[in-house]
């Protein structure tokens, strides 16, 4: 499974954190790989559709995620607050993983 994760926005612009990160589950340790696959499934990533731009506010983060798994591929863009709890959980974990890659 290939995951492209980009976090943009927030209260400050950090070049290191705002870079697009490519996560290959084959390169992760077994625990992280299992966890991310479980969260992708839990939020039904390949059947959800988000392409949101917030109309009001400031300093929100926006997340762009593309996941490819065999023939399945989907891209979403979503901004804070991510009210879909399962998706929020996936984004939280991808944030953690992206610090390692």
């Amino acid at each position: 499974m290939l995951i492209e994760f980009k976090s943009d926005g927030g209260i400050a612009y950090f070049p290191g954190l705002n870079r697009s990160k490519l996560i290959n589950t084959d390169s992760l340790n077994n625990e992280d790989s299992m966890k991310v696959k479980e969260l992708v499934q839990k939020c039904r990533f390949f059947s959800i559709s988000y392409n949101e731009v917030p109309q009001r506010g400031a300093d929100r983060k926006t997340y762009t995620i593309t996941i490819t798994d065999g023939d399945n591929k989907n891209t979403i863009r979503v901004s804070d607050p991510v009210e879909d709890e399962a998706l929020a959980e996936l984004i939280g974990f991808l944030n953690k993983l992206s610090k390692k890659v």
Partner: protein
Amino acid sequence: MCNNHDPNHRHSIHCILSPHILRSIVKNGSPEQRQKAITTLANDSTFRALRNFTNATLAGTGPVTMISPGKKQRTIIDAKNLQSTEGKIVRFEGDPATDDPAVNEAYDGLGVTYDFFWNIFERHSIDDEGMPLQGIVHFGKEYNNAFWDGQKMTFGDGDDDLFKRFTISLDVIGHELAHGVTEDEAGLVYFNQAGALNESMSDVFGSMVKQYKLNQTSDKADWLIGAELLSDKINGKALRSMSDPGSAYDDPVLGKDPQPKHMDAFVNTFEDNGGVHINSGIPNRAFYLAATSIGGFSWERAGKIWYETLKDARLRANTGFKRFANLTVYNAVRLFGQGSVEEQAVQNAWNEVGIKTSVKEPLQYAH
């Protein structure tokens, strides 16, 4: 109110007369005319208030209240680590401190920010009409951010790896609340130069809130945004430096602070909504230079000029740096006089960051 005896007849005096004509009838009309006009005026006020209330509610500008000027109304909500702006109310106005530092910091920080705007600018909350202040704490899991959603200020706990909790810095709380003020007054669009001005206004007011709390003159202030926020593992001192943009951090994980301090280094980018947190370094430094050149407390003169500029009707939603700079000079002249120390300081400040100002050219044509 428009119906007379016939339910299908709409009495003209009750329907299309403007309030000033009705007031004239009250003053000069016959007793019967006066009575009808008084009734209509009273109803008209009620319906106008109702319309305003409805419009505000439908527009999502937050709850409308009847809080006396100078009185604040804070509510702190615990999101319980969910990405939700709903949650449990954990501290309401007047409640004693809790044993949760994030709750108390949000409550106190919103209080100081309200007091700053009220005591210095006589501004009654975000909308100058007493809008209740709502702070969400413990938003998300290890959430590294704080934001303004158009109604509430939201703070994450940080991951303790890169960032501490986002309520820890008073200027960050002031920054978020000031986004509401800017949205209310100028509606600066959150993109490109207007967005960078929006961000800069939040840093300017956020920094002044901290200086106000510490009773610091401009020469004693650190001019840092979020100085308490970075964890010990990070090679950096804050999120941003207003006095020396580009110097706040240089870290293997965060990268190097990308803020320019001069128009020569202006960053054209589609990242970060067109660089709103990047190019804000330029107007941030202009404010720092103006405030320190004028001296004393930053809010007394430089801050007053910036605040009056924010309220200036010529500050359009898509205003760029040049037009904003011209408006600050215009307001310096209006407040302190042509050729004043303040006008000179503001002109010099913009000049030093690479923006030539002029109030001679008609402002409506300035960029």
